[in-house]
Each structure stands twice: as C-alpha cells, then as structure tokens.
Point group: D2
Chain length 110, copies 4
C-alpha cells in the first residue's frame, strides 16, 4: 500500500484502533457495568463511533477524494463519543482512542 | 422498529438496495465485462457507494441525529456513482438504485 | 444482478432484513427497555446476528463459493438470536426475521 | 479491553491488518495493474478476504463464542487469498498479511 501517504496510513490506523476500542468497550465493559453505561444516548454514540471509524478507514483505503467528508464526520462523532465516555469515568482507553482519532481525521479532512 | 418514521424506513430500504446493487454489480457485471468497467475511478466510486449506503442505513438504524450528515454524504456519492454508471451504459439497474437512494437520502438530510 | 439465482436473491434479502431488524431493535427497543434486554449475553447475540447477516449477504453478492460456510454460520447464529428474543418476549418482529433468515441460509448452505 | 486475552488481541490486530491490506491493495494496486489483477476470481477472493477479516475481528470484539467459527472460515479464506496473490507476483505485502492472519485465526479456532 505504498500509494498512501504516511499521514493517511496513520489516520487509517487510528480509525481502526478507535473502531476496535469503541466496539470492544461497549460490548464488554459497558454491558457488564450496566446503569449509565447502557443508557441509550451513551451506548448509541459508542456504536455510531465504531461504525463511522470503520467507514472512514475504508474510504481512505478505497482511495476516492470522499475521505475528506467521511473524515470530517468521523472527527465530529469521535469528539462526541470522547465527551460521553469522559463524563462516565473509567473509560480512559476509549476517551484517548477517540481523541487521537478525531485529531488525525481533522488533519485528513482539511 | 415502530420507532422509525415511514420516511426513515423507506430511506433505510433504499440504502440497502443501493448497497446490494452496487456491490453485486461491481463484483459480477463489471469484473466480467472488464475494460472501462474496471477502470479505477469507476470501480472505486461503486465500492465507495456500496460502503456509504451501508453506513448510512446503519446510522439511521442506530438512531443518532448524525444520520443527517451521513445521509447528505450518501446522496452526493450516489449521484456521482449514478453518473459514472450512466456514462458506461448497460448499468441501468445501478443508475436507478443510486438515483432513488440519493433522492431519499437528500430528504433525510434536510 | 441477473446472475444471481432467485433463491440467492431471496436469501440476500432475508439477511439484510434480519440485519436491520436486529440492529434497529437492539439499539432502540432493547436499550430503552433495559433490564434483561441489555443483559450481556442477549445483547451480544443480537449484535453478532446483525453482523453475520450483513457478512452473509455480502459474500453472496461478491459471488465466491464461500457463501456456503458463511450462510451455515449465519443460520446457526440466527437460531440462537431467535431463541434469546423469544425467551424475553415482546420481540416478535425480531424472532420472525431471525427464523426466516435461518431457514433461507440453511437452504443456501446445503 | 483488558478482558481479552493476549492471543485474541493479537488475532484482532492481524485480522484488521489483513483487512486493510487486502482492501487497499485490491482498490489501488490491482485496479491500476489491470490484466490478471482484475480477473474475477482473484479480485473476488481479495474482497471476500477483506470482508471476512473484518467480521472475524468484530465477532472477537463483541465477545461471543462464535468467533471460533468465524476465525476458522477466516483462516481458510486468507489461505486461498494468499495463494491467489502469490501466483500473480508483486503482492508480497498481501501474501504475508494473509498468511499471518490465517495462522493467528487457526489458533483462535482451535
């Protein structure tokens, strides 16, 4: 995949890491903790974040210019997910993955 | 899924139909025809379209307000895919699925 | 997509319907009901079912012989999801979508 | 995601790497090379491989026992993809990603 710039390769990695962290944390940590961790608004943003991160990575890999739009949307959803996770507490890995992904996606969307 | 409006249900159906049509047509008709049908720009927009349609449907099903942004992006990519398919010819099913999906997504993005 | 047999087209439709029903029901009905509806084992099988149904549909659309294996796995997971939903009650749409999809996938896996 | 064993974490990473490599290579290297690189059988196995690797990773992240079956299927498809890529030549990154993923998935399927 030598066609991809170093920045784009890094962004794809952040997207896949954030995707895995959000999906794995929601389906394990959140379901097992219960209470506010399965409150609809929180849980939905986590699953939406996992989904858009995957899409954002795939659109970069496919190689059309549309990655600018999907990366912009991804950055916005990641920020919202980070905020929701930070508010709950005990989800530092997820907060960090979302913030790093958001920052990387903003650079690709510019 | 009684929570979903009739419009949103219809849009999810159009997205899934367009997803299936683009993926199935690319991987069968286009690969078998070859030539301009596997030209990178055309093939990439078909696979990108299949991907964003799937994402757009999923974000509506998950139920966050972000569907407005994913539907807007979906409409734009569907239009580009319809144009690419119409230019090649012999891909009427795909052109029609993309145009219907674009129209439905524009309504949900408003 | 005239290359696909009528049976395969029908199976793709059942898979996409089951995918949508499981994802939409989990993220709306189950999260809003709470209690046993967000118990880890139930929620995980619903999300796994949505995922394998999507994959099963895509492998049929891509057109390799591997659909026999993904359809067999899909049928098994759909049956387990139907059982989990039937046990909880109030999820008839999901039970039915899972059972129809399982039946259709078993035919394609044979 | 501390619930996951080191072996499973490693397998998820191999699956996501193989997914990215297959999708990125198919949509860029193969489409640009043309000829045997876009021959239907080769291209379909690459896209099927990208898809099953993604599914395999997700089922492990979701955390049901079904990962044993999806990992077994993933290993088989990865081997077939590695063989197809090795036969064509010039696709060493893809061959290696598929073989490593297959080996890792076989261990999880056992």
């Amino acid at each position: 995949m030598h066609q991809l710039s170093a920045d784009m390769r890094a962004c794809i990695e952040e997207c896949l890491r954030c995707h895995s962290t959000c999906l794995g944390t929601a389906m394990n940590h959140c379901l097992e903790q219960g209470g506010p961790h399965v409150e609809p608004q929180h849980f939905r943003i986590m699953i939406t974040c996992a989904e858009i991160c995957q899409t954002s990575a795939k659109v970069m890999l496919i190689g059309t210019r549309h990655h600018q739009h999907t990366c912009r949307e991804c950055a916005e959803i990641c920020e919202e997910c980070a905020t929701s996770c930070a508010r709950l507490g005990g989800m530092e890995e997820c907060v960090q993955a979302c913030r790093r992904c958001a920052e990387s996606c903003r650079r690709m969307a510019a």
